[in-house]
Symmetry: C2
Subunit: 205 residues, 2 copies
């Protein structure tokens, strides 16, 4: 199972953002929602072996975290507005107590930030996306249950980065340009696809 | 200069789609708009060396094509709604005569489909994304002015594929999974970044 943990430094943990101005009213939740599309949706299908955590650290309801599990999520659509509606409904649900509470199939919310996510993820080979990290293509990756930590346009925040490094996590990079978080998810997913499925399968058709 | 040509088999060439239901009212123009984000927007910047053509073959105003030129486009935002507004305004402009007509800085429209785009692109090393193609990572690419042809979720259409193959174009694939068009753009861009900029630059910081 692949796990992606995306940190939204200012992404709102409240449902009171506007669908007609997502970037301007949600603390750039749009950046994180695009990661959901990139992680799950492939041509005519959905990656069932993937789990995405969005760590929402912005707004008065923060910190909260969203978990989307490909194994059980239903009706996941690729367009940003549909994903925003899904997040809005999930964040409108009551959220108390410890750990993740399922609000609809495959979608759960926790009252907590990275620490709640780390408790839920448990141990596992960890990788942190870092522009100074080793090239992913040249880095061995544990293919069974890897966890990838990705910052948003503002990074991770010092305390969160310290927690990630303490797991420990291997610092990796995906290329010479600094990219949007969703492109990073796409590139990591492609590298994992290549390692698990091989590249020859389709080119010999 | 990198050129991406994305075919929207049913993507609307009219501005009369609804921003609140882009996938349902635009013939999946959303798929093509996400390609625009993937092609141009990087962290805190825009790829000025890239041109994207969207070939819109759906609806009563079809065929029309949109051209977005990174060298001169302004205020390009990553969220889908902003990109849809840009397309809607461009498609509302009058569009007659031959070739592309600039409707705002860096954005032009032509009354024509792939044939209008091919006239504008001119000669150049061409590559067509094809699940049966050779692995991009193992394929030599002309780095000066390559053109990449990408189909949407329905492919290219027989006649358009014939035209592309006739340039001729090298069939390439990006991995073992069949992916959304925007993920393909991300993967091609990353490979070109690696070949033009190298991968060591950041990992030695």
């Amino acid at each position: 199972m692949r796990r992606f943990v995306v940190i939204g430094t200012r992404a709102t943990a409240s449902p009171d953002f506007l669908l007609i101005d997502l970037p301007g009213t949600s603390g750039r939740l749009d950046v994180l929602l695009r990661c959901v599309r990139a992680a799950f949706l492939v041509s005519h299908g959905l990656r069932r072996d993937t789990v995405v955590y969005l760590v929402l650290l912005g707004g008065p309801a923060a910190p909260r975290s969203l978990r989307i599990d490909g194994a059980s999520v239903r009706f996941l659509r690729p367009d940003e507005r549909s994903l925003a509606v899904l997040a809005q409904k999930a964040l409108a649900a009551p959220c108390e107590g410890d750990g993740f509470v399922t609000v609809k199939p495959g979608v759960a919310v926790a009252a907590g930030g990275l620490e709640a996510v780390l408790d839920d993820v448990g141990p596992g080979a960890s990788y942190v996306l870092d522009e100074g990290g080793a090239d992913l293509r040249e880095t061995p990756v544990e293919l069974a249950d890897p966890v990838f930590f990705i910052g948003d346009h503002l990074g991770f925040g010092e305390e969160n980065r310290r927690r990630i490094d303490a797991r420990p996590a291997v610092a990796i990079s995906v290329g010479p340009m600094s990219l949007h978080a969703d492109d990073v998810v796409t590139l990591v997913s492609n590298e994992l696809d290549r390692r698990t499925l091989g590249v020859a399968a389709r080119s010999t058709r």
